[in-house]
């Protein structure tokens, strides 16, 4: 045997030892250390968010106002693309070779091995034929998505629109939203965002080292399903809404119709309106910019944001308060001379023509300014002129019970308050205690500082129709299958007027339509009770206002119509209201004795002249700017003068200081 024979054991020992070291290390990383399994999972699993479709919104009869339209993006993964018939592809998608090359370069630039959209929003018509042939184009596939679509293009201001979240939204949501998510920006999309958006799902996908998707992880065991947003049933009647928008074409203003027995809003017209489909898709940005710059402001939600003086439509309310406060009895007469003298103010009535002797019913029917000025003055001065302020405060409280001057808490964002002036306001304008009933007499006829939104006006009519109470107006009546969405919507809000006082006022309102100011708007076979208003407008012609409810017995609809800058309420607002009421009650519009037609009103253009309108706007702005400029200059002047004074003082001090010091020194020296 070889003399180094025993060295085989050393070699063997070394080999075994080293190999066991490897095994120990393997044992450590495979069995002891759990991190690697975690890393491997992290490597291959990516969680993708699955976006649910937003909930659809229906009208009160189940007709679709907004739904989701499937659209199709053609996606491409450049790495997987195999040679194919480019011309055939272009023909199918409807693009040319240059367009193809452009899109191709863009896709490759984005990532050569990740999916990116090749052609976005292919219409559904193309989908069937594309789907059939997609097999020929390896590397391309079709990704279905949904976008909002509005089949009837109505109720844009009600529906609102969605848009990408802002940083602020992300912060406020506590990180729920991510960059690029969509969120309701206005209208019902905003108000009911939480139920419309649905619940996002998560899909765990396996990806390879380049990030390309390779199928679902664990057969989707850890995926959560995206839940579609809730279906909302709105209270709107789509046919009524359409008619309203048609009637308001080329006019500024608003129509609000409410079902008095529920507070459900039937029509919510804001004019000018826009096609909500413009706020979807690739042209959204341009369209939005155009509309923001439109001087007629289509994004302005007039039913709840515009504040108009109610004008004469306020008179029934004055009458009710007077009756409740025992100021006057329905039968008491007042002799109208064509104007009412309040202090040294003269309130003109009926263009200076005398109404003669009027009782409450007639005063409402003929819209006698004198009668209501008298009533107003009596209310404020019943305890003597010294106590005007206290009485005014009481009157104001009574008015506000009807929902004026406060938000009605509509289930929509951005509601205005309207305005019922406070005593403090008059104290500021005049002087404390220096204002009397005569000073603020214009409130009696719904003018002056009094402002109401069309919603508030319509709600006022609901209250009268209901003889003393209203339900909070709302636009959404059901979420999914849940029919009562808020307890407060079934609660009666009493306004503090006993029901017996309504009859005389309603009689007057009936007379308005039967033979009063709005007699041209009488609807065959329907008793409508209404009140016209011709509200003075600081800007141009008066606003045409009409408020009404119908039928008189068991009212089904209360309505407020405002047509801006159009003059007499009876000329524009009343006929429009009458068509709306008839449409809702009868389902159709019958020929009128007076001969007025829907088409005439739909085609009439009552838009204020753009030049004048803008001039007015500018004037207002200039007035504001002059005011601010003046305030600034005053401030500046004050600041300058203070500085100057300080400088002078300093200089004087210095000048004097020498002498004083000198003198002081001299004195101490002595």
């Amino acid at each position: 045997m070889n003399k180094f024979f025993e060295r085989r054991y050393v070699v063997t020992g070394i080999f075994i030892a080293i190999i066991f070291t490897l095994l120990a290390r393997l044992y450590y990383i495979q069995i002891v250390d759990d991190r690697y399994a975690l890393y491997a999972t992290k490597n291959v699993i990516r969680n993708f968010i699955v976006y649910p479709a937003r909930g659809p919104i229906l009208d009160r009869n189940g007709k679709v106002l907004v739904q989701n339209e499937p659209i199709y993006d053609i996606m491409v993964n450049p790495k997987e693309v195999k040679p194919f018939d480019t011309l055939e592809f272009c023909r199918m998608v409807g693009i040319d070779k240059a367009g193809f090359d452009k899109r191709w370069i863009k896709a490759v630039k984005y990532s050569p091995n990740k999916d990116s959209p090749f052609e976005k929003q292919v219409p559904a018509e193309l989908f069937a034929s594309l789907q059939e042939k997609m097999g020929d184009f390896v590397g391309f596939y079709i990704l279905p998505r949904t976008v909002r679509t509005y089949p009837d293009s109505v109720a844009a201001q009600f529906l609102g629109f969605i848009g990408e979240v802002y940083d602020r939204d992300i912060k406020l949501s506590g990180g729920y939203y991510r960059l690029g998510d969509y969120i309701g920006k206005t209208g019902v999309e905003k108000a009911y965002e939480n139920v419309l958006r649905g619940q996002r799902g998560v899909k765990s996908m396996m990806v390879d080292s380049r990030g390309a998707q390779k199928g679902s992880f664990a057969n989707g065991a850890f995926d959560t399903v995206a839940r579609t947003g809730e279906r909302l049933t709105s209270s709107l009647d789509i046919d009524l809404q359409k008619l309203g928008e048609k009637l308001m074409t080329n006019k500024l203003g608003s129509i609000v119709a409410i079902e008095p027995s529920t507070g459900e809003i039937l029509a919510y017209v804001s004019s000018p309106t826009y096609d909500p489909n413009l706020m979807v898709g690739r042209e959204r940005g341009n369209n939005a910019a155009k509309m923001y710059n439109d001087p007629y402001k289509p994004f302005f939600i007039r039913p709840i944001q515009a504040q108009y003086p109610p004008g004469s439509s306020f008179k029934p309310l004055s009458a009710l308060i007077a009756l409740q406060e025992n100021i006057i009895s329905p039968s008491e007469t007042y002799y109208c001379t064509g104007h009412y003298r309040a202090g040294n103010r003269l309130v003109p009535c009926n263009n200076g023509e005398a109404h003669g002797s009027v009782n409450m019913g007639k005063a409402v029917a003929e819209s006698c300014n004198g009668y209501f000025s008298m009533v107003f003055q009596r209310i404020l001065e019943r305890s003597g002129t010294k106590y005007t302020e206290a009485e005014f405060t009481k009157w104001r409280a009574n008015v506000m019970k009807f929902g004026l001057g406060t938000r009605l808490d509509l289930d929509m964002p951005a509601e205005s308050r309207g305005n019922v002036p406070t005593p403090l306001h008059y104290d500021n304008v005049y002087k404390k205690g220096a204002w009397r009933a005569s000073t603020i007499i214009s409130l009696a006829i719904g003018q002056g500082e009094l402002l109401a939104t069309p919603l508030q006006m319509a709600n006022l009519e609901c209250t009268i129709a209901n003889h003393g109470f209203f339900y909070k107006p709302h636009l959404i009546k059901a979420i999914g299958t849940e029919n009562v969405i808020k307890a407060e919507y079934t609660k009666r809000n009493y306004v503090g007027i006993d029901s017996q006082y309504f009859e005389p006022v309603i009689n007057g309102m009936q007379a308005v339509v039967e033979g009063g100011t709005a007699r041209r708007s009488k609807i065959p076979d329907i008793i409508m009770c209404g009140k016209t208003g011709t509200a003075q407008n600081p800007r141009g012609e008066a606003n045409s206002v009409f408020v009404a409810f119908a039928p008189r017995e068991n009212p089904k609809i209360a309505i407020a119509v405002v047509v801006e800058n159009s003059g007499e309420g009876a000329h524009w607002a009343a006929p429009i209201a009458s068509f709306m009421v008839e449409k809702y009650l009868k389902g159709k519009i019958t020929p009128r004795e007076s001969g007025i037609t829907v088409d005439y009103f739909a085609n009439a253009n009552r838009l204020p002249d753009l030049g004048l309108y803008e001039l007015d706007l500018k004037k207002e702005r200039r007035r504001d700017s002059i005011r601010t400029a003046r305030a600034d200059s005053i401030k500046k002047f004050k600041a300058d003068s203070i500085k100057k004074a300080a400088r002078n003082k300093l200089a004087n001090n210095n000048k004097r200081g020498v002498w004083v010091n000198f003198l002081a020194a001299g004195r101490t020296g002595k």
Binding site: L26, Y36, V207
Partner: protein
Amino acid sequence: MNNNNNQRSFFFNVDWVTVFLYLVLCTIGWFNIHAAVFDERHPSIIDGATNYGKQFIYIIVAVVVGMIILLLESRFFSALSPAFYAITVLLLILVLIIGRNVGGNQAWINMGGGFRLQPSEFAKFSTCLLLARYLSGPNIRVTEPKSFMAAAAIIGVPMVLIMLQPDTGSTLVFCSLIFVLYREGLSPYFLAVSGLLITLFVVALLFNPISIIIGLVAFTALVIFLFRRNRKLITTMLIGLAISISFIFCVKFIYSHVLKPHQTERINILLGITTDLRGKGYNVNQSKIAIGSGKLWGKGYLHGTQTKYAFVPEQSTDFIFCTVGEEWGFAGSVVVIGLFLFLILRVIFIAERQRSPFSRIYAYGVASVLFFHVVINIGMTIGVVPVIGIPLPFISYGGSSLLSFTILLFVLIKLDSNRMGII
């Protein structure tokens, strides 16, 4: 007579255990290559369009070559070893001139038909053969400086040529032949000291000193217990233990004060102490993730996520062990490493039963080369040795590598089958 007849048979005295291990390892390799580069469009494991299909062909070719070797005369290898060596050296020079550059290494000669030859793979075989021939010659003793220098030259020439490619991995493989020299009489201190220091250096960087010391003491105790009659060994082990422990404490000092920052950083990354996950550390990190995530039983054949989704580069060649670790877990790793250990021990066993020094020395060469490949390859996939690209024998994808290891092993089997005869 009967004996004579049997001797004429091709397979007389063939060590079937080794052949069996060889075939098992080749098959494991083939299946793991299938998993590593699995292509859904070509799921069949014998599809010629894929690397696993090609590997199947390589295996068949390798087995045929192995059979042919068994047909040859044993004396042929001893007699022609200088010629083999000369051809290899010529090829190594040739590859530097006309070689094809792949991945920074000028290591391949294009053979036409899509096949490429890697001469450095065959250099291991011819070097072992010539070393065996030289050391088995009369009056040659490694302990004599002149003989030692000659042996070192035989090993050194191909090393220098391969270094010029430059293929560090294949160069370092030749270092493993120090075991052959040791077995043939080289002073044990050459081996012990250098090996120990390198090992300790690496180990000391990876673990904290206390656990290493505990491990070393335990190991020493075990060896002493196993070989308790060998007093000399006990003494050596105890001295080694003392040196090791002191060296461990020196390592940190050398590491932080003697080496330059960029050197330590490179070692850090290669050892996985610090991670440069996108750059140099990417391979090792992903490889460790693959193996580590296999846990005890693995993720199952074709179910390794790291493997399937291409997280580890070069996974069918140098990093093939990732697939084993990920899809077959610790159990599979133990089996594969166990098979290798078994094969290496079997080769040593064969070596020691040879009557002819030539066969024995050659067998030690085979064992050393196999051992080095296995340890370095698996070690780098789990981050205990720096990444130097050498294949895992019989398992990594590649015709040259498989063929050269087959030749290396089958020549030994042939020599062994003739161990009763005279060479």
